[in-house]
C-alpha cells in the first residue's frame, strides 16, 4: 500500500506550522536552530514528494487547500528558499524567535500557494506582512514607513477583494492591482523595501520579498479577469522598476541596499512577465519564479556569511575577502550571475525566454529588459570586486567557511548548475501550466477561483 500524495501535502503544510510553535518554546537558540533545520528539511522532503507525485490533476488536501500545476514545483522551491535562509544564518545571530518566524513564513507561503479560496489567500498575505513587523519591533527599529505601506497594501487588497465579491469587477481589479504594486515594491511605492533590508534581520527581509507572493494573487485573482489595458499599464510600471532597481543597485554604497534594489529589479521582472500574459512570458515568469528566488537566496547566503564575520559591509572600498573565504566568493559570483541569466546557470533559460518572448510587444520592450539585465550584471560584478578584491585584512582567527556554510555553498552551486542543466524539462512543464492559465483567461470570470 502506497502513501497517498495528499498525505505529503498535508505534511508540507503542517510541518512548518507545528515547527514554528515548537521552536518558539525551545531554548537555547542553537537547539532551536537545529530543530528548525530538521522541520525545514522534512518540509522540503514532503514538498518534493508532493511535486514528484503530482500528475497534473488537482490534488486536494485539507479543506480550502489544493495543489495545482502552478503550486506543485513552487512548493519545494519555496521550502528550499527557507532552508537556505536558515543555513545562511550565523549561530551568533540566530534566535528562537527568528526560527519561529522563518517556519511561520514557510507555512504562510506554502498555504498561500495552495489556498483555493480568495478570502483565505487575502488573509494569508495579510498575516505574512506581520512577520517583518514582528522582527522590526523585536529589534527596536523604525517601522512607521513599513507600517504605512502595509496598511495601504492591506486596505487596497481587502477593498479589491470585497469589491470583487460584491460584483464590482472593474473597481475590485483596480484596487487589487494597486495592492500588488505596493506589495511588489513597484516604483514609486518601493521605499519600504530598502528600509526593510536595512532595519530587519536579513533572513526575515529576504523571505518576505523573494517568494513574490503577490504574484499568486495576480495569477489566481487578477489574470483570469483583468482587462488587457490594465495589465499592460502594470507591466509598464514593472518594467520601469526593473530598470530603476538595476540602476540603483549599480550606485549603492551599502551591501544591504544593493541587495534590496537587486531584489526589486528581479521581482519586478517576474511581475512584468506575469502581466504580459502571453504564453512565452507566462512560461518565463513561472520558470523565473523558481530560479530567481533560489539564485538571490544564494547571493544572500554569501553576503550574510560575510556580515557575520565582518559586520555591516560597504561597497565604497575594496575589502579583499577572497583570500580568506574563497568559497563564499565563488558562491556570490555563481549565484549572482545565475540571477541575471548567465549561460549554463539556472537563470539562463528563463531570462532568454523572457527577453525573447517580450519581442511580441516590440523590440523596445526587449531592449529595456536587456538593459535591466545588463544593469543587474554590472551591479553584481561591482559588488563582487568591492567585497572580494583588494588588500586582504589580517585577522588573528581563521575565517574559513564552517561546515554548515560549506554545505550551503555546495547546495547552492549544485542547484545553480543542475538547475541550468534541467531547465528544458522545467520549461516544458511550465509552458503547459502557462497555456492552462491562458485558457482560464480566455474563459473569463468563469475560470477564476472561488471567492
Amino acid at each position: 500500500m502506497s502513501i497517498p500524495a495528499s498525505f505529503w501535502f498535508e505534511l508540507t503544510l503542517a510541518l512548518p506550522l507545528v515547527g514554528a510553535l515548537a521552536v518558539a518554546c525551545v531554548q537555547p537558540a542553537t537547539v532551536a536552530a537545529r530543530w528548525a533545520l530538521g522541520f525545514l528539511l522534512a518540509t522540503l522532503a514532503s514538498a518534493l514528494l508532493v511535486a514528484g507525485s503530482f500528475d497534473g490533476a488537482r490534488l486536494a488536501g485539507p479543506p480550502g487547500f489544493a495543489v495545482d500545476a502552478l503550486a506543485a514545483p513552487l512548493l519545494p522551491a519555496f521550502a528550499l528558499l527557507h532552508l537556505i535562509t536558515l543555513l545562511g544564518t550565523a549561530k551568533s545571530r540566530v534566535s528562537s524567535r527568528f526560527c519561529a518566524r522563518l517556519l511561520l513564513a514557510a507555512f504562510i507561503h506554502a498555504a498561500a500557494l495552495t489556498c483555493d479560496h480568495a478570502g483565505g489567500l487575502v488573509g494569508l498575505l495579510l498575516l505574512g506582512a506581520l512577520l517583518p513587523l514582528w522582527d522590526l519591533g523585536d529589534r527596536a527599529r523604525p517601522l512607521r514607513g513599513y507600517v504605512l505601506h502595509m496598511i495601504l497594501f492591506a486596505g487596497l487588497l481587502v477593498a479589491g477583494w470585497r469589491a470583487l465579491e460584491a460584483g464590482d469587477t472593474a473597481r475590485g481589479l483596480g484596487w487589487l492591482l494597486l495592492a500588488l504594486l505596493v506589495r511588489g515594491g513597484i516604483v514609486p511605492l518601493h521605499g519600504w523595501v530598502p528600509r526593510l533590508f536595512q532595519g530587519a534581520a536579513f533572513g526575515t527581509a529576504m523571505v518576505f520579498v523573494l517568494p513574490v507572493v503577490e504574484g499568486i494573487v495576480a495569477v489566481r485573482l487578477l489574470l483570469p479577469v483583468a482587462p488587457v489595458w490594465m495589465l499592460d499599464w502594470a507591466a509598464v510600471a514593472c518594467l520601469v522598476t526593473a530598470v530603476y532597481g538595476g540602476a540603483m543597485a549599480v550606485v549603492q554604497d551599502e551591501v544591504r541596499k544593493f541587495y534590496a534594489h537587486l531584489c526589486l529589479s528581479q521581482t519586478s521582472l517576474l511581475l512584468f512577465a506575469l502581466m504580459l500574459h502571453t504564453a512565452n512570458s507566462l512560461t518565463a515568469a513561472l520558470c523565473l519564479w523558481i530560479s530567481m528566488p533560489l539564485a538571490l537566496a544564494g547571493l544572500a547566503f554569501a553576503v550574510r556569511a560575510l556580515e557575520a564575520r565582518f559586520g555591516a559591509l560597504s561597497l565604497r572600498e575594496h575589502h579583499g575577502y577572497y583570500e580568506q573565504v574563497p568559497g563564499l566568493a565563488i558562491c556570490f559570483l555563481v549565484a549572482g550571475l545565475a540571477s541575471v541569466g548567465f549561460p549554463g546557470t539556472i537563470g539562463f533559460v528563463p531570462m532568454e525566454l523572457l527577453i525573447s518572448g517580450s519581442v511580441e510587444h516590440g523590440l523596445g520592450v526587449s531592449f529595456t529588459l536587456a538593459v535591466a539585465a545588463m544593469l543587474n550584471g554590472i551591479a553584481i560584478l561591482r559588488a563582487y570586486f568591492a567585497l572580494f578584491t583588494g588588500k586582504r585584512p589580517t585577522t588573528s582567527v581563521s575565517l574559513q567557511a564552517t561546515a554548515g556554510e560549506r554545505a550551503g555553498i555546495v547546495l547552492i552551486v549544485v542547484l545553480v548548475f543542475l538547475g541550468g542543466w534541467f531547465s528544458p524539462g522545467v520549461v516544458a512543464s511550465r509552458h503547459h501550466t502557462a497555456e492552462k492559465l491562458l485558457e482560464r483567461k480566455a474563459n473569463g470570470p468563469a475560470g477564476a477561483p472561488h471567492r
Binding site: A279, P343, E352, M374, I378
Partner: protein, 454 residues
C-alpha cells in the same frame, strides 16, 4: 556524405567541446569536495585537455579535407522547445570554425605551457587556470557555434573570464577597477548581441545561422538579404563586435585590460578575445552584404580604429600597451577588409596576426630584460629612428596629434563625461532623495554628514 562519415565528424566535433567541459567539471568537483589539486596536476590537466581537443579538431579538419566535405552541422537537439520559441544548441564544422578553433587551441596550448612556469608558486595559480579553462570553453563554443544562442553562451564565458583575469592581481586597486570598466563595456555590447539574437528569431523563427545565410559553406551564401530588418541586424552585430574587439569608441578598455598577467594579456587581448568581434562579423558576413551602407560603415570603422590605434600606440611608454594598440591597428584593418568583402584575406590576416602577437606578448618580459642589458653594455639608450611623416606636419598639428594620442583619442573621458558620470550622479541623487523620503516616513532625522561625491 555517408552516415558513417557524418557520425565520425559529429563525434570529433563533440570531442572538441567535451574536453574543456570535462576539465571544468573536474575543477568544479574539486571545489565542491574541498580538494586543491597540485600545480603539476593542474598543468597536466590543462595540457591534456587542449591536446585532446586539438587532436579532435585536426582529425575533423583532415577528414573533411580528405573527403572534400565543405561543412558539417552537429545538432545537439532543441534545448528548449515551445510552440512559440525554441532554443537550440548546434555546432558547425567549416573552414571558418575549424580555422578559429584550431588557432584557439594552438595558442591556448602555448600559453598554457608558458603559464605553468610563469605563474609557478603564484598565489592565484589555481584561480588563473580555472578562469583559463572557462575562457577555453567559451572560445571553443563560440568558434564552433552554428546558432546565435550557442555563440552568445561562448561569448559570455569569454567575457566573464577575461574580466576576472584582468582583476587577477586583486590586491592592487587598479586591476579590479579596470576589470569592472571592461565588464561594463562588454555588458553594453552584449545587449546588442542579445537583441540581434531576438531579431534573428523574429526574422527566421530560429537563431540558426544557416537560416540566415543559407545552406552553403562559408563564405558563400544565398542571394543577398535585403530589408531594413537586416540592416538593423547588421548594426547590432557591428556594435557587439565593436565592444568585443575594442573598436572605436570602445577602444579605451584595451590598454586597461593589460593589468592582467602577461599570459592572459597575450591570449586574450593580443590574440583571441580581441579577434572574436572580427570572427563574429565573418560568420554573419552575408548580413553585412545586405546593405552597402553597412559595408561602408564597417570600412570606415575599421580604418578609423586602425588610424587611432596607430597614433595611440606611437606614444605608449610601456610595452604591453604599445603591443595592445599595435594589435588594435591590425584588428581595425581586418574589420576594414571584412567591410570590403575580402573574407579569405581577413581570415588569413586574423590567423597570422594572432600568432605573431602572441609571440610578441610572451617575448615582452624577457625583451625588456634584454633591452636593459643592452643599455648597460653600451652605456646609453639606443637611438630610436623616428618616421619622417610626423615631422612634416605643422607644429600645432604635431602637438594636437600628440595630445590626441596621449589621451587615447579622448574616448574614455568622453564616455565618462557623457555616460558614466551623469548616470552615477543622477541615480545617486535619486538614492539620496529616496533615503530622505524613507527617513521622513519613519520619523527619523536626516543624517548630519553629506554623501560622498561620486
Amino acid at each position: 556524405m555517408t552516415p558513417a562519415l557524418e557520425q565520425t565528424l559529429s563525434v570529433l566535433g563533440l570531442l572538441i567541446v567535451a574536453a574543456p567541459v570535462l576539465l571544468l567539471a573536474v575543477f568544479l568537483g574539486a571545489f565542491l569536495l574541498n580538494r586543491r589539486p597540485g600545480e603539476e596536476l593542474v598543468g597536466r590537466l590543462i595540457q591534456g585537455t587542449i591536446a585532446f581537443s586539438l587532436l579532435a579538431a585536426v582529425g575533423a579538419a583532415g577528414t573533411m579535407l580528405w573527403h572534400r566535405v565543405a561543412q558539417h552541422s552537429i545538432e545537439l537537439g532543441d534545448w528548449v522547445i515551445t510552440p512559440h520559441y525554441h532554443l537550440k544548441f548546434e555546432f558547425i564544422l567549416d573552414l571558418l570554425s575549424l580555422s578559429y578553433v584550431t588557432l584557439t587551441l594552438v595558442l591556448c596550448a602555448v600559453i598554457g605551457a608558458f603559464s605553468t612556469r610563469y605563474l609557478h608558486r603564484e598565489r592565484g595559480y589555481h584561480r588563473f587556470f580555472v578562469l583559463f579553462a572557462v575562457f577555453l570553453l567559451g572560445m571553443v563554443t563560440a568558434s564552433l557555434s552554428d546558432t546565435v544562442e550557442t555563440l552568445f553562451a561562448g561569448w559570455e564565458l569569454v567575457g566573464l573570464s577575461s574580466v576576472l583575469l584582468i582583476a587577477f592581481f586583486q590586491e592592487r586597486p587598479a586591476p579590479p577597477r579596470n576589470g569592472l570598466r571592461v565588464w561594463v563595456v562588454y555588458r553594453l555590447c552584449d545587449v546588442a548581441l542579445l537583441l540581434a539574437a531576438i531579431l534573428m528569431h523574429e526574422l527566421n523563427g530560429a537563431g540558426d545561422f544557416d537560416h540566415l545565410v543559407g545552406k552553403h559553406a562559408w563564405p558563400a551564401h544565398d542571394p543577398v538579404l535585403i530589408g531594413p530588418h537586416f540592416t538593423l541586424l547588421g548594426v547590432l552585430f557591428i556594435i557587439a563586435a565593436a565592444g568585443k574587439s575594442a573598436l572605436i569608441p570602445f577602444s579605451g578598455w584595451l590598454p586597461r585590460a593589460m593589468e592582467g598577467p602577461t599570459p592572459s594579456s597575450a591570449v586574450f587581448y593580443g590574440a583571441l578575445s580581441v579577434h572574436l568581434g572580427a570572427f563574429l562579423l565573418l560568420r554573419v558576413s552575408p548580413v553585412l552584404d545586405s546593405s552597402p551602407w553597412l559595408s561602408l560603415c564597417l570600412v570606415l570603422l575599421g580604418a578609423a580604429t586602425a588610424a587611432f590605434a596607430y597614433l595611440a600606440g606611437r606614444v605608449q611608454s610601456d610595452i604591453k600597451s604599445a603591443l595592445a594598440f599595435a594589435s588594435l591597428t591590425q584588428v581595425g584593418l581586418i574589420i576594414a577588409e571584412i567591410g570590403l568583402g575580402f573574407r579569405y584575406l581577413a581570415l588569413l590576416h586574423l590567423l597570422g596576426h594572432a600568432c605573431l602577437r602572441t609571440l610578441q606578448f610572451l617575448r615582452a618580459p624577457s625583451l625588456l630584460h634584454d633591452h636593459h642589458q643592452l643599455e648597460n653594455a653600451i652605456g646609453s639608450r639606443p637611438r630610436e629612428e623616428l618616421p619622417g611623416w610626423e615631422h612634416r606636419l605643422p607644429a600645432n598639428a604635431q602637438r594636437w596629434l600628440y595630445r590626441f594620442a596621449l589621451e587615447r583619442g579622448y574616448f574614455d573621458s568622453l564616455l565618462d563625461r557623457c555616460v558614466a558620470r551623469p548616470f552615477v550622479r543622477g541615480f545617486r541623487a535619486l538614492d539620496a532623495a529616496e533615503d530622505r523620503w524613507a527617513r521622513w516616513l519613519d520619523g527619523e532625522p536626516a543624517p548630519a554628514a553629506g554623501r560622498r561625491e561620486p
